[in-house]
């Protein structure tokens, strides 16, 4: 499998908890991290809600999987695109989302932001540059 490296993009467009897609998509991303591909993750439309801070699921008896997003950096998933227009329409800013970081081995483990705020047009460019798009 090491013979080729592909650009993998996981596109998240659904809110968490109302449906299971967000959670089961995250499971794919984590498993996929072992495959040594060039991985990106995008959050757009209702998918931006997945990254909301302060999720507390105790009242609905479901597992709170949101802390896992903070672990993506440890899995060397460092390119996380969040679409600006989707945030704006929903009255959100980056401050409402988790602060996701990764540590850059090449710069003495300096902590760097994983989230890249992009416009819809810029996200379109990012998608165009991918090899495989995963949808949930």
């Amino acid at each position: 499998m090491a013979e080729e490296t592909k650009k993998f993009m996981y596109i998240n467009r659904k809110a968490p908890y109302g449906t299971i897609y967000a959670w089961e998509a995250l499971e794919v991303v984590l498993i996929g991290a072992a495959f040594e591909q060039d991985v990106s993750v995008a959050f757009m439309d209702d998918g931006v809600y997945q990254l909301a801070k302060g999720q507390d699921t105790s009242g609905i008896g479901m597992k709170n999987f949101s802390p896992t997003y903070a672990a993506l950096g440890d899995f060397e998933i460092t390119k996380i695109y969040v679409e600006k227009e989707s945030l704006e329409e929903r009255g959100l800013t980056l401050d409402d989302l988790q602060h996701l970081v990764w540590e850059d081995e090449d710069e003495d483990w300096a902590e760097k932001d994983s989230i890249r705020l992009v416009s819809r047009a810029e996200l379109g460019d990012v998608l165009a540059g991918q090899d495989v798009l995963f949808n949930f």
Binding site: E4, E24, V28, G32, F134, F136
Partner: protein, 130 residues
């Protein structure tokens, strides 16, 4: 062209399973190779042999099983999704202490890595869902 097909919804409730089937059939008839069909989320419900659709309706599960047999397809049900939804083969029944199985012929249960591998090994990934 080598294809991996992902199916995210169960049979009957959504048309996704139908569209995926007709797409797969057309691709095979045009001489393309289907590397794998991966059933995820409620898609695992495509793999139960216990369905009895009405006489005047299509049998979605049986149709998949036949296509798999004719073309030696690799049809994989995601194990984590299958456990949540109650799709069970002999191995799963033993591991999880279940007194029955319901998996249909032509399907196997395996991990999510099989989907990623499909993305790596195929020329195209086509996803059907809701």
């Amino acid at each position: 062209m080598k294809l991996t097909i992902q199916v995210n919804e169960g049979p009957y409730q959504h048309q996704s399973a139908d569209s995926a089937y007709y797409f797969a059939k057309a691709a095979l008839e045009k001489g393309h190779e289907i590397y794998r069909i991966f059933f995820y989320h409620d898609g695992v419900n495509n793999g139960t042999r216990l369905t009895t659709p009405p006489q005047d309706d299509r049998n979605i599960v049986a149709r998949w099983s036949e296509l798999a047999e004719q073309h030696d397809l690799d049809m994989v049900l995601c194990v984590a999704a299958a456990q949540r939804r109650g799709i069970v083969d002999d191995g799963e029944a033993e591991r999880n202490g279940k007194d029955a199985t319901n998996i249909a012929p032509g399907f196997r249960i395996s991990g999510l890595g099989q989907l990623i591998e499909g993305g790596v090994q195929s020329d195209r990934l086509v996803v059907f869902g809701d």
